[in-house]
């Protein structure tokens, strides 16, 4: 599911890095998704120079539940702690609604600006 495709984690301009999340982010697939996130944190932190910003692309997320929201929230918080500004972007409407319903909307707060910037 998470093949190390170059475009999924390619550095963008300047010091921005891109991480693409895809597939279902639900309880049943949580273990695999967590492994992927852990790898991404290590890659981001070990990259020299360390990127100041990471775009978290959720365009390919097909489904999400509370367990998945929690994983992404942990991931974003981890990045923040590592001085990497995480910017969720390209969030499908359904995913955004679920985040919102489950009270995780706050963690996506930076996404609007990011998408604005992208446009």
């Amino acid at each position: 599911m998470h093949t190390p495709e170059k475009d999924k984690e390619r550095p963008t301009e300047g010091t921005t890095h891109r991480v693409a999340l895809e597939g279902d982010w639900v309880l049943e697939s949580a273990a695999g998704q967590l492994k992927y996130l852990a790898e991404q944190v290590v890659r981001l932190v070990e990259r020299q120079p360390r990127p100041a910003c990471a775009e978290i692309d959720l365009a390919m997320v097909t489904g999400i539940d509370a367990c998945g929201c929690q994983l992404i929230a942990i991931f974003l918080e981890k990045l923040q702690r590592q001085q990497v500004t995480a910017r969720p972007c390209h969030i499908p409407e359904e995913v955004r609604n679920t985040f919102s319903q489950l009270g995780f909307a706050g963690i996506l707060a930076g996404s609007a600006a990011t998408e604005e910037d992208a446009r």
Binding site: V41, D65, A66, A73, I74, Q101, L102, G103
Partner: protein
């Protein structure tokens, strides 16, 4: 409390008054709920009036001003009804029930010295006055309702809810989105939800299915605090949920010198904003299990009783358990002595055994309480939910006096509530549908309890539409579960116990709670119980919960397997036999024993528990025939030892869960024996074969 005039310490007598109030309120509710929507006759009105009048009189003596005022308003309404000064309307029953609830809350408040929100008192008093046709302006000293959703609607209140679910919430199949959606549906406009990570774990070592999120919600709603707790009924224990009612600052709390005093240790405002802008009122919900009779109400079973702390009873039960073990040791030691030389000693030991058993029976009976305590909460629930759903339902109960261990009673209330809600919501049809199906417009929902051998069977029976076999199979197929048309009805019904399984087309606030029958099953199994369903399309559904009489002591047969000993509960044993070699056969590759023309599978205990040196040939050992979950099986053991009552010790508390066992016990010789759990043994056997 001491009155200045007579120097009599009335406080000494207030306990009796509270008890009497409980009885009056219980009686009042029974009559009102029994009315359904019909007009009470003169005798019933008199009985309710007398109850209110007695409460008012006592409240006056003790100076419980609010209690006196509310009961007075209630009395006035009842008097007007009695004298036909106002017409009877079905809505008056709801109002009287609401007033009864308030009296119960006030009684509890005065008893505990805890606050009861004045605005709640004012609202009910205002309703009582309005029903009498008095002016609708607030009564003297009252404040205007804090926020109103509009004329005739319940008042709006703002609640702050903090939900801290346990780590296994996700893996238990609890749907947080369902819970939050249901909460949002209760909100009138304002609903705010915020998730907060309680920790930031190391990703490499984190369990992806573990829940470490806490949810904070604020909502404005007309729902009661109990309604909000009900949303989390199966998802949260009490310590995982905090619900605070936040009264708007515009509604000042009246300074009533006679009101129950506010506790000095009340929670401080959580934030400066809250401290400045809102008035916080803690809403205490009674502990689960205490809700059966409701706050301030007295359970019907406690006539002529004294109140004893449950911890003391538990201590007594444990001590008797230890005594039983010591007695068993003495019996075993004395049995090895010369019976002639020690005749007197052995007589004494036999007498000790008898006395110990009698004592144990007496002590265990202290913990037994009638199931009616739980059943009594349902007439009102059924009445209110049926009205909400637009259904006509007649509630019946039987076997109310059947006794069950108090610990079980407390824990069975929630699963029963869920089953009753399910029946009302999904089982019983609306009147039109029933009529078109050739049934009476009114459905029947029955709760029945009975003792069957060493178990208590509680049944929830409805004469509704029954389970839809096709729908369940389709849903199972959709979810990728192994199923086919060849499954028996019983097997199909078992599918609904799978986590998250629901065929309901719409999630409702009655039974669609994001969790389902799997939680009911899990809760019942945790009590050593089993759930069985029988259903017939168009005729209804019967859900049977079978529970052990008590969890503390088991009547069992000690058996030997290799060097190990096990206790087989007597209630599952049918008989034991030593088969002839030719009785043991193989059918479809499975080992069976033929007993009077019936072929029973053989469960080899040594194999299930990995015991070496045990007898492997059934015709050289003993087969104990068991009836487990409606199936008969033969348990292969080396030898039968003796029949005894054993004290159940929890393995989980002291070691870990061991599959196939319900716990362990200490035998007379000091050895530890595992107590077998039939249902789990059967599952283990099916898996292994």
């Amino acid at each position: 409390m001491t009155t200045g005039q007579e120097n009599i310490d009335l406080g000494r007598f207030s306990g009796v008054f509270f008890e009497e109030c409980g009885e009056h309120l219980q009686q009042m509710e029974e009559i009102l709920v029994g009315l359904r929507d019909r007009e009470p006759d003169q005798e019933e009105l008199n009985a309710i009036f007398r109850a209110a009048h007695s409460i008012k009189g006592g409240a006056g003596i003790f100076g419980f001003e609010l209690l006196m005022q509310v009961s007075h308003e209630m009395e006035s309404l009842l008097d007007s009804l009695r004298n036909r000064e106002i017409p009877f309307l079905p809505g008056l029953i709801d109002l009287l029930l609401e007033a009864g609830d308030l009296l119960a809350l006030l009684v509890e408040g005065y008893r505990a010295g805890e606050p009861v929100a004045c605005e709640t008192v004012d609202q009910v008093r205002a309703k009582l006055r309005r029903s009498l046709g008095h002016d609708s302006a607030p009564v003297a000293g009252e404040v205007a309702p804090e926020v109103s959703a509009g004329s005739g609607h319940p008042p709006l209140a703002r609640y702050q809810i903090t939900f801290t679910p346990p780590p296994d919430t996700f893996s238990r199949g609890i749907r947080i989105d369902g819970l939050l959606r249901e909460l949002a549906e209760l909100a009138h406009g304002e609903f705010d939800c915020r998730a907060e990570l309680m920790e930031l774990p190391e990703l490499a070592s984190f369990d992806a299915e573990s829940c470490i999120t806490r949810w904070h919600c604020t909502l404005v709603t007309t729902a009661s605090c109990d309604d909000l707790y009900d949303v989390f009924m199966f998802a949260a224990d009490h310590d995982q949920l905090t619900i605070r009612k936040l009264a708007a600052v515009e509604a000042p709390v009246r300074n009533d010198p006679t009101a129950p005093k506010l506790p000095s240790s009340g929670p401080p405002p959580e934030s400066p904003a809250q401290g400045l802008g809102v008035q916080s009122t803690s809403v205490q919900r009674p502990a689960r299990g205490d809700t059966a009779a409701g706050p301030g109400r007295r359970a019907a079973d406690s006539e002529g009783s004294i109140r004893v702390n449950v911890a003391k009873v538990d201590q007594l039960v444990n001590q008797v358990g230890e005594l039983l073990i010591t007695q068993a040791m003495l019996t075993q030691l004395s049995a090895a002595l010369d019976p002639v030389a020690n005749e007197a000693l052995q007589r004494c030991v036999a007498q000790l055994e008898k006395n110990t058993r009698d004592l144990q029976g007496s002590v265990m009976s202290i913990r037994l309480v009638p199931i009616g305590i739980v059943f009594s909460r349902f007439p009102r629930m059924v009445r209110e939910l049926a009205a909400k759903l637009g259904k006509s339902v007649q509630f019946k109960s039987s076997g109310d006096s059947t006794e069950l261990d108090k610990g079980l009673i407390e824990k069975i209330a929630d699963p029963l509530s869920h089953l009753v809600r399910n029946s009302l919501d999904h089982g019983l049809e609306a009147p039109e549908a029933r009529l078109s199906g050739g049934k009476t417009a009114s459905g029947t929902l029955e709760l029945a309890a009975s003792q069957q051998g060493g178990r208590i069977v509680i049944e929830v029976i409805d004469d509704g539409a029954g389970l839809d076999r096709g729908k369940i199979l389709a849903k199972a197929a959709e979810r990728g579960l192994p199923c086919s048309e060849a499954l028996s009805d019983e097997e199909v019904w078992q599918l609904i116990f799978l986590p998250g399984f629901s065929t309901a087309e719409a999630v409702t606030d009655i039974s669609g709670r994001g969790v389902g029958m799997d939680v009911v099953l899990k809760n019942v199994q945790a009590l050593g119980g089993r759930v069985q369903i029988t259903s017939q399309a168009g005729h209804g559904t019967r859900v049977s919960i079978s529970l052990p009489l008590t969890l503390a002591i088991v009547e069992g047969l000690a058996v030997e397997v290799g060097q190990e000993r096990f206790i087989v509960p007597l209630n599952v044993i049918v008989e034991s036999l030593q088969p002839k070699a030719e009785q043991v056969q193989s059918v479809n590759g499975k080992e069976v024993v033929r007993v009077r023309g019936e072929y029973l599978p053989i469960l080899r205990l040594y194999r299930l528990f990995g015991i070496e040196g045990a007898q492997q040939a059934p015709h050289r050992g003993i087969l104990v025939l068991l009836e487990l979950e409606g199936e008969r099986v033969a348990l292969l053991v080396d030898a039968l030892l003796d029949e005894q009552q054993v004290v159940v010790k929890s393995l989980e508390a002291n070691f870990r869960k061991v599959e196939g066992t319900a716990g362990a016990t200490i035998l007379g010789d000091g050895r530890v024996a595992l107590i077998l759990e039939g249902g789990e043994l059967l599952q283990m056997h099916k898996r292994n074969s």
